[in-house]
Symmetry: C2
Subunit: 316 residues, 2 copies
């Protein structure tokens, strides 16, 4: 029953994808002098409590599906009005009882009201475009590697970003797991009543064309396996094919005992730079030709259960 040796070796690093990173206290050899560069797993194992940041319940969404909970972190520093509107929609239980109504392969899953008529309560039906913002005030952990689409790319508060210093603008990037607000042809016709998550190759041509407002932190594997819709653009052709949404709530509105307490690796630390370097040139034994390059969408930000008072997370 155990997988053959060959099989797991395609991806030897422990911190893969959006899954919770497996942190093994003491995994870094302490006694022997180190001559080899650290692997990503070793960087994480050597991290301290200060390298991690707990999710803020006020900016965390729980999307409750029949299969489980998807945890989403919102990005008010990039889309303040969309974030506020989605918070209002969530507080008004707008999404509860609606559906995932679209799953287009290698592209997006999308949820909302198929009829587009459900009252939005205290929220707004539309919110003006927040495709980009000023670069001023942002501290970007830049990647040195060239990017196909933007002059600069990097991370701000664990979110993948692109920037154009020549015009002083920055924007969130359509990486796997990013959350966006669907819109009509009018740029100001979005607002968050329909939300989508990227489930395939980063559709970077959407950057600066639609408002991104967050990213999936855990539970991505519940969204990515949605049966693909056979209608145009992956919409389900029959209502019974849709997946019902039990609820979409702010973590702050959920009793503390029922929250999923997570923390993410901060992206403004030397530890993160070491992690990036370990991803850029993989030194696990399996790799023979380290890429020496790194795409902004190929840096899965590590997530782990929230530690208790600064102690190491318990391995699970």
């Amino acid at each position: 029953m155990s997988p053959p040796l060959r099989a797991p070796s395609i991806r030897p690093a422990a911190c893969a994808g959006l899954a919770l990173a497996l942190l093994l206290p003491g995994a870094t050899p302490a006694a022997e002098p180190r001559t080899k560069p650290l692997t990503g797993a070793e960087v994480l194992a050597a991290s301290t409590a200060a390298d991690w940041r707990a999710l803020d319940p006020a900016n965390t969404l729980y999307l409750e599906l029949p299969a489980g909970r998807v945890v989403i972190e919102l990005a008010p520093q990039f889309a303040p009005h969309h974030v506020a509107n989605v918070q209002a929609l969530a507080r008004g239980h707008y999404f509860d009882g609606l559906w995932i109504m679209r799953a287009q392969d290698n592209y997006v899953v999308q949820w909302g009201d198929p009829d587009g008529k459900k009252p939005v309560g205290a929220a707004h039906r539309t919110v003006g475009a927040e495709f980009e913002r000023t670069l001023r005030g942002l501290s970007v952990a830049r990647l040195a590697d060239p990017d196909t689409y933007a002059p600069e790319v990097g991370f701000v508060d664990t979110f993948p970003v692109a920037a154009d210093p020549a015009i002083g603008r920055a924007w969130l990037v359509h990486c796997y797991g990013m959350l966006g607000a669907g819109r009509d042809n009018d740029v100001d016709s979005g607002g968050g009543t329909e939300l989508y998550v990227v489930i395939g190759q980063a559709p970077r041509h959407l950057d600066r064309n639609v408002t991104l407002l967050g990213r999936v932190v855990s539970g991505m594997e519940l969204l990515s396996v949605m049966p693909r819709g056979s209608g145009t653009l992956g919409f389900y052709e029959h209502a019974e094919q849709r997946t019902p949404i039990k609820s979409l709530q702010l973590a702050a509105d959920v009793p503390a005992a029922q929250r999923t307490e997570l923390e993410v690796l901060r992206t403004d630390t030397p530890t993160f730079l070491s992690f990036v370097e370990a991803r850029r040139s993989r030194h696990e034994e399996w790799f023979k030709v380290p890429a020496g390059r790194l795409d902004v969408c190929n840096v899965p930000i590590p997530v782990r259960p929230r530690s208790n008072g600064g102690a190491k997370a318990t391995p699970k």
Copy 2:
């Protein structure tokens, strides 16, 4: 029941993903003078029979799953020994009755023999690495855009490739849908008894580290929705979670009436260059800021049912 106007507008192009392109004869306006650049759908609608290439049954695999057929095109020009070995494995019914045993989110699905002991018959258990080849003799339809990972990228015979002219080498690229041969730490320990397909953001760090030998041409949505395994690296922890493989056959060994007759857009034509340009800068009404750039893994090669004697494909 009909989706709201806003919803489908995220991706207006008809030729999306690996789905069959919807070709509407006469979709290109002929009478009025054209002032706007063509969209991808319009480029395809204006294509001729010579712009398409039928799949060669001798280099096409049918992976039969309970949910349907996955069609894979092999790339003997890049991995001749692996392709020959997988052809021998298929002819010997090696994969029939084995399982998809791994699905790691945003990474790969993988199939083979969990015990690694099934006899390989006339095939070889391992084949020497074919990570790259000489650039000589290859006609690469190059993309002008910078690539994060390689000096040059483009297409050869519909396959995404990277090249380094300074050393005269070329290799297949780990885009969504690419087929690879799992290996152990020894570079020559692959061979095709375990095969994987990329189901997420292009893991370009695997380029030149493992042998790629083909790509999924249709049916990708059957692989990408596999429930993710909860074990290390996405392996299923219980045998009953695996998806059985009914068979993996060469199209040439399947009776003609039971084949899936497909053709793909050739990548060595002016039509393909127009298609690439239409992808690079999207001119559909929804887009406001055309990217003006294009990643090699963001060019889904159009596929359609094989046309009859050069006539246009029937819209479906």
